[in-house]
Amino acid sequence: MAELSYRDAVIRGISQEMRRDKNVVFLGEDIGAAGGVFKATVGLFEEFGPLRVRDTPISEQAILGAAMGAAMTGLRPIAEIMFSDFIAVCFDYIANEMPKIAYMTNGQVKCPLVIRTGNGAGVRFGAQHSQSVENWTMMIPGLKVVAPSSPVDVIGLMAAAIRDNNPVIFHEHKALYATKGEVPDGEIIDTLGTAKILRAGTDCTILALALMVPRALEAAEILAREHGINAEVVDVRSLVPLDTQTILGSVAKTGRLFTVEENPRLLGWGAEIASIVADEGFWDLDGPIVRITTPHIPLPAADHLEDLALPNAARIVDKIRRVMNG
């Protein structure tokens, strides 16, 4: 057991798997000698050498295309897309190629690879470097999509993603890289498609992801302490596969559902979950499903505006309190 940063957990997760399996290779911009722009790949180049940890040109389509071609023929590549916003320049691979090849070929081809990317806001990078784009990937059939919130989840889900035989999009949150958490020694492997109840509660269910998880937990403490509302907080962790049992189970218990989403409102991941619960969990609901999201706007660069845009504990508390009492 040791304290590790989210950033170092990325390194540990990747190196755990690269040590285990020589077919795991890694490519991306500035990931090698330089250790990555977020310093989340420091040391990999030194340990695994330039043939397994390869610096690329600024050619995101070539990066993902090459990862796919290698995956289809026997390797298990990890590709870095530096900022998740850049998924847009190579979206064809994510939307049309990787997720469809198994289906189109009637199962002849598999595509075991991981795309890891720096997602999310909070670092004043402005509209083109701060987006939460989990929904861009969640909506595509054939992908798996995870977004861990803690160092231990980073390692375990990274291992699971690398061992999975499908294309997995791995959203690392930029504003979490510096956060720390306890991590057991030895090999860590987690399971895709499993949510985690981080705080048990009885009055309402709060679903959160990545950076919103600590904020939801903070809000739950305040709600309990100051407003007598005992919230259950679920870290969704994996958007595809989606752990609907844990979610529906929690709502069955609490009767109320809130989502806390960093993405802009329209078609954030919470929309899908809300629609599932409004169908299958309808009779369990004691009141409206409420989504707390960033407004449906591009993100501003200015610190005070960015802070205002993203859901935070105060806003979560305020919203839940008003809805639950009203």
């Binding site: 050619s59 071609g69 070929t105 002849q108």
Partner: protein
């Protein structure tokens, strides 16, 4: 002086009668099979789209013969010819066009996505340019694992103007990947003359220097020329000397896809190219090299027979079972996105 009267030329011949017969066989079979595909379309038995390679057979044949077992093909929606050229049975190809259970992917992929991993056909891609980087990845795997196969990637002239082309070429060169890029320049995008929207006369050839590669522009209607060029490029790749970019000049005799009558062509253009029909050229070549006429005739007969047999097999084939609808979305064979 005709080669026909020159036994020395055929003694010095680098190709020889066996390979020549193979090159001819592939061209004839592709031609017959594509014509059948067209007939089936007219009979409304091909329901999706289809993109024929009539007129472009020499390229598929030249590469098909030059490639070894284990080498990988990456094709476009215009991929029937390349699929057949790797040894895929006609009924598996035609059956996929007809969206029947007998098809290569049992109808799930359709004519634009022909794939037969068993034959090294690693997919046909319908979004322009996408497969060039993918072919790089396959070549990267070979390089990394020390495997000796070469990846060959086919695409059209119009494809040279999309971003992925540029990224792939640069990538292949800097990593010195065992990949061969083959541009089939048939002059047209869908209905637009590619020369009208391309800054240079040779859409691939004039771009080669931008990646430090030599300009290679060849007669794509002469299977011998294609075969020799393919052999050289594949050998170069296999020896670890990196990628090649080859532009093959050719012409499609039919429209872009099933629905296209090709009205945008200037009068006389098709006729001029029909004179350069690769099958016509090659049949003459076989005669010049005194290849056994009986064997040539047998190929032609056998090809027609194969097409008939394949057609009947396809017609007799049912649709795939409906369970396939949700199969193979994920690698476990299923489609579960939730528990």
């Amino acid at each position: 002086m005709s080669l026909r009267s020159n036994p020395v030329a055929s003694l010095n011949d680098d190709i020889g009668p066996n390979i020549r017969l193979e090159l001819y066989r592939l061209q004839v079979e592709i031609r017959d099979c594509e014509k059948r595909a067209y007939d089936l379309f007219l009979q409304n038995m091909i329901k999706g789209t289809s993109h024929l390679s009539l007129g472009q057979e020499a390229i598929a044949a030249g590469f098909g013969v030059a490639m070894k077992k284990g080498d990988k093909s990456f094709c476009t929606y215009r991929g029937h010819a390349h699929t057949l050229a790797r040894g895929v049975p006609m009924e598996a190809m035609l059956g996929e066009l007809m969206l029947r259970d007998i098809g290569l992917m049992r109808g799930k992929g359709g004519s634009m996505h022909l794939t037969s991993v068993e034959h090294g056909v690693m997919g046909s891609y319908a979004i322009i340019g996408a497969h060039l980087p993918i072919a790089c990845g396959s070549a990267w795997r070979a390089q990394y694992l020390g495997e000796k196969d070469v990846s060959v990637c086919f695409f059209g002239d119009g494809t040279t103007n999309i971003g992925a082309f540029h990224e792939a070429l640069n990538f292949a060169v800097i990593w010195k990947l065992p990949v061969v890029f083959v541009c089939e320049n048939n002059l047209y995008m869908e209905y637009t003359l590619n020369a009208d929207v391309t800054a240079v006369p040779s859409p691939a050839g004039d771009r080669a220097s931008a990646y430090g590669l030599p300009k290679i522009v060849i007669d794509g209607n002469d299977a011998d020329v294609v075969y020799r060029t393919a052999m050289a490029a594949i050998e170069k790749a296999r020896n670890g000397e990196g990628p090649s970019l080859i532009e093959c000049l050719t012409y499609r005799h039919s429209g872009h896809s099933r629905a296209d009558p090709g009205k945008y062509r200037p009068p006389g253009e098709l006729e001029r190219w029909l004179e350069k029909d690769p099958l016509k050229i090659y049949k003459q070549r076989l005669a010049e090299f005194n290849v056994d006429a009986a064997q040539v005739a047998a190929i032609e007969v056998e090809s027609k027979r194969k097409v008939e047999v394949a057609t009947e097999l396809c017609k007799a084939s049912p649709s795939a079972p409906v369970e396939l609808l949700t199969a193979d979305v994920y690698a476990d064979g299923g489609w579960a996105w939730r528990n």
